[in-house]
Symmetry: D2
Subunit: 436 residues, 4 copies
């Protein structure tokens, strides 16, 4: 975790205090059910919840001090709680194993992290949608291979991003569902010393599903799927980040990351405004992708469990969720405040002298009875002049002066072929598909 | 693709002929709709389908020869079809762009590949279930960290695998849905020269969803999610493969990959039966995981598209699906024919001299009024002797001879604590959770 | 392996015939030494080499047919050789294990593959150097963050690529050394039934080092390092490929992948020349990077060996080397024939109206006694006008008309600050560092 | 970075204070040379070093406070230094760009990190060597595929690890050399405003090589190679960790991670000593491998530089080096204190009833004139009985009672075939290869 790429609510999920709070809730809910089942006195859970109702501070250093002696984190915590609650606390954890607490806690943390990420995505989607509608009909050149192709609108670019992040949202909902399970099944998952009803009760109270079958641990294919999903989302962040970086290039300059009016460029050169936020996002995307790999390797634990996944999760649990939260919020800011330059878009669109319309002229000539070969030659000879002029000549002007063209097409017909609007007739329908 | 790890039906999907057949269907369905819309004569589609009804052979070398001249694969194919069908074929591909055909074809191929993989998973699930039920109550030691923990049943191990692959199946269904979209939207996705109705028609005929918004290409976050899902499935294959490899170790030998009765070991040593199938699967899992990475990097294409994804997909499209198909089938065979040795499982269970039951004795002593500290000391001193005997002594025997134990617990009570069945009381419920 | 990305000499290394030829040489050299040691008759090696001198065809299908019966590749091969050579052949393979042959063969294949890759790198370096010298002083704008920064020369860009690939070459030499070892040490590497002198002899004849300690297999950290090195080289290929893709963008167009004079663009639009070779290389780089991952996972084999590395290497051995060979050759072609447009470079350099020189003016004003704050304000107000004119105004013109500037600096002094050559004074020294 | 997996000396390299100290040294050395060159007064460097000689505390919060205003880390630092040193400090940084400082600092940090890692490796190698010599002739079974193969010694296992980490050390030396370069070349690497002699001077003082050609940044192929090398080392750590985990399995138990005499197992069960250190190392190895990936993606920066590498390096710079340092030290501790059980090794060796020697008997029978087919049948029928007895019968006993055997071989000859020492005749030579 890099502090500058961390936001407090997400970081808080991964702090010791938050973890201990979840531990307590799991233990207290479990004790409650054990009481109902007659395994422990009902008074035990009451004592726990009564203490909890006082909103006690979790004394992390005190717990750490106990752990230094017991060498066992869960026992240290239980000991500390017992010191606070008194004798009734000894009924906690009956028949349970440490992993019951640890794995269910990780599930709660990842579910909460998912909830923040889902909010992040909602904010991002809202920002993209607002800007998409704003620029629904702002013409800009579509590029394949980095080369001008045919006109699109800037709104379409954003609608594509919207559709992509809407898919990401759906994937994250599924990933959250994968991860949000509760296991309280004992040392090797047989419920030998703890009734499955305890698991059901705790799951229901924590808003988790029960883990149908666990083996001391919750199976790690769930976590692999979760982190792989975050990696896919990172890829989509990178795509939009790369788009902004391209648009901000000196020669393109169709959009820019926001800078405040009074802000100075990096030097005396006023043009030096760098797309540092989206470059930064590009790097973060690389990290979030990388974190999926050890999660995938974690699946093949030995027999009922080995603990090799644990050190991995101490890294990627916080690092992947905190970084993705930061990245989504940063991207939302970039989109929200993106400086868009429609005039420059138009200027770039025009820099080819209308060559982007040559295909429609070709078709029109053919339909007007010129042979395909002739039509091609006619268009080509004019297009070449435009191309060689590097933006000085305009294709429409040349065509109007070409006798073979004017013999087949009227000036009005010709001009119609250079109509940008022609390309945007389906924008409405596409927006309906995406936003409805 | 490594031929020895390829099965014909999956490989066939990726062969040139299969690709050309899909191309034809896309073009013919599109022409059909263009006919309905009055853009081209209705006779065009009829001519195409009439020819198709003759079940024509796709002459791949002839198409290749044309491509060598035109330097364009789709044009080469259209030219060859025109040669077969005649004049009406010139109406094909109206307003479409090559990527419309290529990307929709990839969608069909990946959807078909998914269908095979889903069948593979069904067969694997059936095999696992059969063996799980067979060994529902076969006792075996549960191990955490590779160390004996408490008893489980071999059926539970398999039930866990079943639950895991059932999740994989659900993930693959979602991944198939992600990937099965149709885009026929023209050069930059604006439908400038092709009505969206054509896309809808082709999608419906091919069993695909429409791509709500495309940009010459279908967005690559879909493919990233698809290949990431295959990577997760590979992880689960590896988990089961590693389990079998462990079980077949000389010192464990609780199960073995099948070998036929007359089969010789690798030399004069009859014990030399190696788990080569599951070792092989372990390596294949590594490959399938690796293929997800370039798919994740493919997401961030430049602007409306660049073609960097294409070379990647020429590798991973076939390689990931063919290898996963092979691996799933191989794993099914391993499970189906796995030699299971319940006697050896029992022997291993017993090799600790009953130490796996020490915890229950400890609890019983405490409940019988012995202080926790005393109880621990009593169990510990007997357990240590058992441990140091390396399997020669039995804990139950020693406890029966320990006066402090017999003062608290009757022989019958003691024996009950060594009851394996105690651990299996919830097996039924777990099986219900998993298989119902 | 994707056939279209494969070149015959590299592919040949991975074909069955080549593999069998290496097998034979290993066995024959070993038999030779066994003869010298008196373990087998000296006549055995003579018989083998005599047959080999007849340049016999390796009958792959015949060997396959035997393998179908014996289920063992090395035995099948030995059997076939015995059929050809006669009785003396029975002395082959004495005391050896299959892995001795297989692993040493892989070493030979990877060493040969390295030799081809080293030649590829030499050709690439030569091409880069030639173009670097050609454009040593061709001015072009240096860009950070995609934004114009200060002038460089196109030769410097290429010199950087040269230095990078020279490092890659050095790394590959080291990787080749890592991988080129010979192990003939028997079933678990103890030389129990084969004298170490045999290993030494075979190693020397095949141009390999001896593996100091093997365990049936050559340790896989060597292979991990090898494939990781290929991955680094792929990264450098991608860097240059991305540079070319950027330079070919419509708005930049400072260089282009070669197209023949008569070649048509992709349609009627003559500007549509896409950087498809470098896009293709970008995707290939992703694959070569991905292949390093399973090689890294292969290191941790179980005990003296497990065979999980084998299926991985059947993929990545050919795929990584064949694809890298193809990519290096393709990049060499791109560089060799790259169309470079110095006029466009100059035009882009000038599009900022001389803003790239503003920093030098600022310094000159300060040195002429203007306070730093004033100097900044003076430059800034002129620079802003230039910036807002989008290339219409020139900074030098404005400065010459600014009284506060002319009070401090003469026209000649001002013009000197706009001298491009100032930036190139150290080009010679940098070239010396890189190329000498 | 996970605090529990961090050791202070390595962490210190990555703390702000350490970074600022390196920044100062770079600036002061550069100012020194600028003074010699007459660009700035010689008194400037003197003032800087005089202040430095007072061993001043770096006031990180004060620098942070300035950065909060200037929004630029290097300027904030220079401002703070100027406040301490006074007027002469204004000559610092002349003609330099921030990246000159940042990239050279990263080089110093990675070089220092490498030095710690090299020491770690030296300690690890020493520990392995000591244990290897201790167990040079301790017999143990060699296993391929997890199945008993032929005898080795435990010293050989460790010698293999020694040879592997000796290779890792050599690789790290090369990686350190890759990374330890100094770049002070200005905004786009042209040395436009700073003489190359400054770079040479700073490089020499910091013990770095000069970067032959930089482009504002040091090229990232160097860093890719560095982190890829750490990934390879992680693979070797995992290999040894997995070996220990296997050896500690309940059924194998040939070695164990150290536990203190009084230490309690995890519960009442004294056998429950888990290999948690090596499981932990396995997970850490996954992380270190994962960090190589974004480093590989960082190579392809845009043009003269983009800043996407920066966020990646804020993660992996500390995380990869700190974790690897911790892992190497932990592994050293594991090896150093490893509990080795030669009796259990012998017991496991014997559990096959001598089947591991069957191949030698087969050969001896053949050499004594028995046909190969007969010899095989004789050995096989006895071996099968041994195998089926699951360790109860011994092959040697049965052979001595087999008339066909005793007809060919004397009892003494037979016994010689069961001589473990036979397998260890080359141990000396292998040790010489590895350790000399």
């Amino acid at each position: 975790m890099v502090p500058r790429y961390a936001r407090p609510p997400m970081s808080a999920i991964w702090e010791p205090e938050a973890r201990y709070r979840i531990w307590f809730e799991i233990e207290a809910h479990a004790t409650e059910k054990l009481g109902e089942l007659g395994v422990v006195p009902k008074s035990a859970a009451k004592a726990l919840w009564d203490w909890w109702a006082t909103d006690p501070k979790i004394d992390v250093p005190a717990i750490d001090a106990i752990e230094a002696v017991t060498k066992h984190d869960v026992i240290a915590f239980l000991t500390w709680v017992a010191e606070q609650v008194g004798d009734e606390a000894r009924f906690m954890h009956q028949g349970m194993t440490s992993s019951d607490v640890l794995d269910t806690t990780l599930a709660v943390q990842l579910a909460r992290a998912s909830d923040i990420l889902l909010e992040d995505l909602d904010l991002l989607l809202a920002a993209i949608r607002r800007r998409a509608e704003e620029h629904k009909y702002t013409p800009t050149i579509g590029r394949s291979h980095g080369i001008h192709a045919e006109p699109v609108t800037f709104g379409l670019k954003l609608a594509q991003a919207y559709a992509e992040f809407a898919r990401c949202r759906k994937r994250l909902v599924a990933a959250r569902e994968e991860i949000a399970t509760c296991a309280i099944s004992g040392a090797v998952g047989t419920f030998a010393n703890v009734d499955p009803a305890v698991e059901e009760h705790v799951a229901e109270r924590l808003g988790l599903a029960i883990e149908p079958i666990s083996t001391q641990v919750i199976p790690r294919d769930r976590h692999a799927m979760f982190f792989a999903t975050l990696a896919v989302i990172a890829g989509s962040i990178e795509r939009v980040a790369v788009e902004v970086r391209h648009l901000q290039r000196t020669e393109v300059l169709e959009a820019e990351e926001y800078f405040s009016p009074g802000q100075k460029g990096s030097s005396a050169m006023p043009h030096k405004r760098n797309p540092i936020l989206t470059e930064n996002l590009t790097g973060q995307a690389r990290m979030i992708r990388a974190y999926a790999l050890p999660a995938l390797e974690n699946v093949a634990l030995w027999h009922e469990r080995d603990i090799s996944h644990s050190s991995v999760e101490r890294f990627i649990g916080p690092d992947a969720t905190i970084t993705l939260d930061f990245a989504l919020a940063r991207l939302t800011g970039v989109i929200d405040k993106l400086l868009v330059y429609p005039e420059r878009m138009q200027k770039n669109l025009d820099r080819m002298g209308g060559l982007v319309h040559s295909q429609r002229v070709l078709l029109a000539l053919t339909q007007a009875g010129v042979s395909r070969e002739n039509a091609y030659a006619i268009v080509q000879r004019n297009a070449m002049k435009v191309w060689e002029s590097d933006g000085e000549l305009a294709l429409l002007d040349l065509l109007k002066q070409d006798a073979e063209v004017t013999a087949a097409l009227s000036e009005a017909e010709l001009e119609e072929k250079f109509d940008l609007e022609y390309h945007f007739r389906q924008v409405d329908q596409v927006f309906e598909r995406v936003f409805d």
